[in-house]
């Protein structure tokens, strides 16, 4: 490591002792915590690409078929409603054609149609809307509850901590899919938002344990003592001193919780315990069309591709955030950059100014 450091340093021009800062320090010198995190995050190519792709999917899903919930109805730019049944064109084969030449373009039914003529693009967009909404709701409710319970248990310790953690153990003993199926069986008929809220009520356990651990270690640190000595209230210590320091752990696990949530939701809907017909979600579309795979594979491919794209991008964003928040993260120069730096140093020593 030390060889590496000295190789990457500009050789001292006055012949004095070498600059003692390491590579890591050099990269972050003069930057605030937020700036360091942002810089590291934007260096993670997978995460940046994922953010762009995910934003595209979300905009596409919500703008194309419009927003329809709680009685509000904003039409989108796509011509078909997901329950409309236009006449079948060419057996419903997808009209999407990206090969330049005749027929190039998206056509009237880019993802094809099902047996009765429903437009699969509209259906998949509506499904993606529902799945994304459930994912975000589970993430928000789960994170909120997890932070609340974890921080109370970790900060106040004692009997309250013991009770809250045993309660967490009770919930964590039940596999999420199992509790999700029971909850979905009970509230799935009330629509996607309700399902998302109720699933979130059981998704906070892992986060609560993490946050509690973080609070237990942070509350013993000197800066918390300093704040307490200068008369800060518990509320102020929690919100101004400890919580900002554990925000990395929270954001990362919230992201991974959301990635798990979309897979759980689609699986539940697939099993029939999630979003119920006539409403739809990506899992419902796969479930309804799996038998038609041999004859109409497009009914099956597109919803699956959207599940994977959403889950994969969220996972990558989570990975990028973890790298960005991890203080031990070291950005190693590639062999190429190292060779360049060595050559530069050799050059500099040969031809002193």
């Amino acid at each position: 490591m030390s060889e590496l450091n000295s190789a990457l340093q500009v050789p001292p021009s006055d012949g004095g002792s070498a600059d003692e800062t390491t590579i890591e320090q050099r990269q972050t010198v003069g930057l605030s915590q937020g700036q360091i995190v942002r810089k590291r995050f934007f260096h993670h190519k997978g995460a940046v690409i994922s953010i762009i792709v995910l934003a595209f999917v979300i905009v596409l899903a919500y703008s194309s078929v419009g927003l329809h919930m709680f009685g509000i109805s904003i039409p989108g730019w796509w011509q078909w409603h997901w329950n409309a049944t236009p006449p079948l064109i060419n057996r419903g084969v997808p009209t999407l054609n990206l090969i330049p030449g005749p027929g190039f373009g998206i056509g009237p039914h880019p993802f094809g149609q099902d047996q009765i003529g429903k437009d699969i693009f509209a259906l998949v967009m509506r499904g993606a809307q529902q799945s994304i909404m459930i994912m975000v709701l589970v993430g928000a409710v789960g994170t909120g509850l997890g932070v609340l319970i974890g921080s109370l248990a970790g900060f106040y310790r004692g009997i309250g901590d013991a009770l809250l953690m045993r309660f967490t153990d009770v919930i964590i003993t039940i596999p999420f899919l199992v509790i999700g199926a029971v909850v979905g069986r009970a509230v799935g008929g009330f629509g996607a938002p309700v399902l998302g809220l109720f699933l979130g009520l059981f998704a906070w356990t892992g986060l609560a344990r993490l946050v509690r651990g973080e609070f237990l270690s942070l509350r013993e640190r000197e800066f918390v003592d300093a704040a307490r000595v200068s008369g800060a209230s518990d509320k102020r210590i929690i919100f101004k001193h400890i919580l900002p320091n554990s925000v990395g752990v929270i954001i990362v696990s919230a992201t991974l919780l959301m990635a798990g949530a979309i897979l759980a939701e689609t699986a539940l809907s697939f099993l029939g315990f999630g979003v119920q017909s006539p409403d739809t979600s990506l899992g419902v579309i796969v479930s309804e069309n799996q038998a038609a795979f041999a004859t109409r594979p497009w009914l099956f491919w597109w919803p699956g591709v959207f599940i994977i794209v959403i889950a994969l991008t969220v996972n990558f964003i989570g990975d990028g955030l973890r790298d960005a928040f991890d203080p031990r993260q070291k950005k190693m120069p590639s062999p190429k950059a190292l060779a360049k730096a060595l050559a530069r140093r050799a050059h500099a020593t040969r031809t002193p100014k």
């Binding site: 003993t173 199992v178 994969l312």
Partner: protein, 510 residues
Amino acid sequence: MASFVTRRLIAAFFVLLAATFLMYMLVALSGDPLEELRQGNAPNKQQLMDSLSMRLNLDVPPFLRYFLWLGGVGQCFVGQCDFGVNVQGLPVLTLLEQAMGSTLQLVTGAQIIAIVVGLIVGITTALRQYSGYDYSITFASFLFFSLPIFWVAVLLKQYIAIGFNNWLADPLIGVPVVIGISIVSGLLWMSFLGGAAKRRLVTLGVATASTAAMLVYFELTNWFTTPNVGIVGVAVTAIAAALGVTAISVGLANKHAVRGALVTAVVGIALYYPMTYFVFPGMNLPLFLALAVGAIIGGGVIGYFFGGRDRWQSARTSAIVAFIIGAVIALEGFLMYWNAYFNSTRINGRPIATIGSATPNLGGNFWIQGIDTFTHLLLPTIAIILISFASLTRYTRASMLEVMNQDYIRTARSKGLTQRTVVVRHALRNALIPISTVIALDIGALIGGAVITETVFGWSGMGQLFLEGLRHIDPNPVMAFFVVTGLLAVVFNLVADLLYASLDPRIRVS
């Protein structure tokens, strides 16, 4: 230690008690169990509803019904479990036993393969950090994390089962396919073995050429219609296993161990004809297991006598070699009966099954039944491996990287130890400590974790017990499922903690 375990067990008991109560209430309140009958139009509707209410004590409110259920389950402590009856009136305990057997059959093999593959890939990615291989595996494991298993299952059914069955009707590998597979395999081996540019090129060439040669050999000898290993195949794999296992476990410099492993290989090869002609036709399961154990012990004894100074190391190596050779010879046993299976009237030339756990009324001897189990296990096993492989690889890679950056690894290297000794003896053993707890937790979640896989592939295991119970708002089967999974989760949680404490001397349980 004892007080730690006792305290944990008492806490776990109360946690489980509360969890079962929560679960029971959720299931019982999730709908109306009489709805199906009420909306039906059977002439004796009222009578049916009354008898169902009687059977499931539906006249008791759920809060109190839980204690009736708990009373039945509590009798497990005196050896008379009573999990109640389901909607159809069948005792849940019998259903539970069948379901557990079926699920264990499904998940055991898959989990073992996933652990072995996950460990190997995780270790190699850590050793080749930031290489093309590392990046591809990282991307692949992210992809596998994000796969909806019910979707993958349909793809597997279509392309692996139906596509492969169609292909088997006329097994012909085209020239472009041979070239494609060979180059992919060459690239895989190259990135896997790594090294300097020249060595990479040599690996690429050798791997590509040998894959192509193998495919052409299969094609020319009609291997896919009459698959067999043959004495040559057994000999080659035996010698390769002997050298490979020795190289990894004790190093080829240890002449005693090499000699022991090679003698084991020769004994294995010599046993090929006697086994296939005299022992295999009358095979049954106890004999099969006895032979497997015998192979391991026999190999161990050979290794022990050739062992020189470090007998147990050599015995261990030879035992592993003997097990591998035994597996190859057993594979030959299955392949000998492949044609009988393939052409049987129940199979009719379409061996890979897409659904269920066995072909009904197949008959046949041990080998044919074995092939049948294998063809039914293939698809769900692939699906389970894809999912668990991803997380295991990531854990192993992270843990291995953590260890490889420690000072004692640098010390070991500067002492002049070989790469094998540093990686296997200094790094791997320490890297395995955190992984062992992850594996323990995985095993705890095994029985309950395959609900979706079981549903898609039509296995009537624990998943079906749970889902059917839930569909009919029938708490008894659901609770039986949950008692087993919850108990396993709690027990393996404790096992993971104890394992960590016993493997890592820095951790004390108190």
